[in-house]
């Protein structure tokens, strides 16, 4: 089992690469995590974002669970906030999450297949 000693090794390794990060700079990823979002599958989506962002060391990006914005039928909803721009993705699954990370967060190009405008309510 992973012990606290393993954690201390991780800490010592991480200490060398720590840097201060401003809370509001960079990109914010908001994942709808109310009852509707959770039951539609937001939890694995959020986990994927957290893991991949940490794995790629994208330390200016923060992921935050948020409440419901009132479009429960098209959850899981993910919003990407960057400066003045807001992109809303809906019906996001793990596969879509990988595309959003690669193409939008890293590549800077909106993944138009999942943007909210594609769906008719």
């Amino acid at each position: 089992m992973k012990s606290l000693d393993d954690l201390k090794k991780i800490r010592d390794a991480a200490q060398s690469k720590v840097q201060m990060r401003g809370k509001n700079e960079g990109i914010r990823v908001l994942v709808g995590m109310a009852t509707c979002g959770i039951s539609a599958g937001a939890r694995p989506v959020m986990n994927k974002f957290v893991e991949k962002i940490a794995e790629y060391n994208l330390d200016k990006i923060t992921v935050t669970p948020v409440g419901c914005i009132g479009e429960c039928a098209i959850e899981p909803i993910v919003e990407i906030l960057q400066g003045e721009n807001r992109t809303t993705y809906c019906r996001v699954d793990v596969e879509a999450t990988e595309r959003i990370i690669k193409e939008h967060l890293i590549g800077g190009k909106v993944v138009s297949d999942y943007v909210i405008g594609k769906y008719r309510l």
Binding site: M1, D6, I10, A14, C36, R43, M46, E51, A54
Partner: protein, 184 residues
């Protein structure tokens, strides 16, 4: 929701909204007593008597955007469907406690599911709320406490990739371990 850990994630969002500083999640899984119990205790701002009497009504919500709130009522339904029961108590400015009891071998009792995914989301909350997780399996016990981990990390954030993997593995293996030892 087909996993009890999803309900836990949902209920704990309420605790976070109630400005809790500590959320305690205590699971009691007892084969002998045929009981599966989930206890969630927070020290948030609590509810008054009137609110408390209304929370498990699906047509009650503190939200202003619309008139339904299903989180607590779905959890209650899940417990009652597996011939268990559901209790919620709260004191204003002290905190709220939820106890959901399930008949362990009832066909409607959902599995706990991926609890480490639930906990990692709760642990990475922006307000640095501490999470205490206790899992009892018969007479074996596994404990995960963010206060302990925070001390060991000495300022390294929980968002570090290796830290996230360590936390998830620790929880997953910790629970498997207590169940394995029991069956020998």
């Amino acid at each position: 929701m087909n996993e009890l850990s999803l309900h836990i994630l949902d209920i704990c969002q309420n605790s976070i909204k109630a400005n809790a500083g500590l959320i305690q999640i205590i699971i009691t899984d007892s084969v002998i007593d045929n009981i599966f119990k989930i206890k969630i205790i927070d020290n948030g701002f609590g509810m008054d008597k009137k609110t408390l009497s209304e929370v498990s009504d699906p047509f009650f919500t503190t939200r202003t955007t619309r008139k339904v709130g299903l989180g607590v009522s779905l959890f209650k339904m899940a417990a009652e469907m597996s011939s268990g029961n559901f209790k919620i108590s709260s004191t204003k400015n002290k905190g709220t406690t939820i106890i959901a009891t399930f008949q362990r071998d009832h066909i409607n009792r959902a599995p706990l599911g991926n609890i480490e995914e639930t906990l990692i989301i709760l642990i990475l909350n922006e307000k640095n709320i501490n999470i205490y997780y206790e899992h009892n399996y018969n007479n074996k016990k596994y404990i995960f406490d963010t206060r302990e981990v925070r001390n060991a990390l000495e300022g390294i954030p929980f968002t570090d990739y290796n830290v996230i993997l360590w936390i998830k593995n620790n929880i997953k293996e910790g629970i498997i371990n207590i169940q394995k030892e029991e069956s020998v």
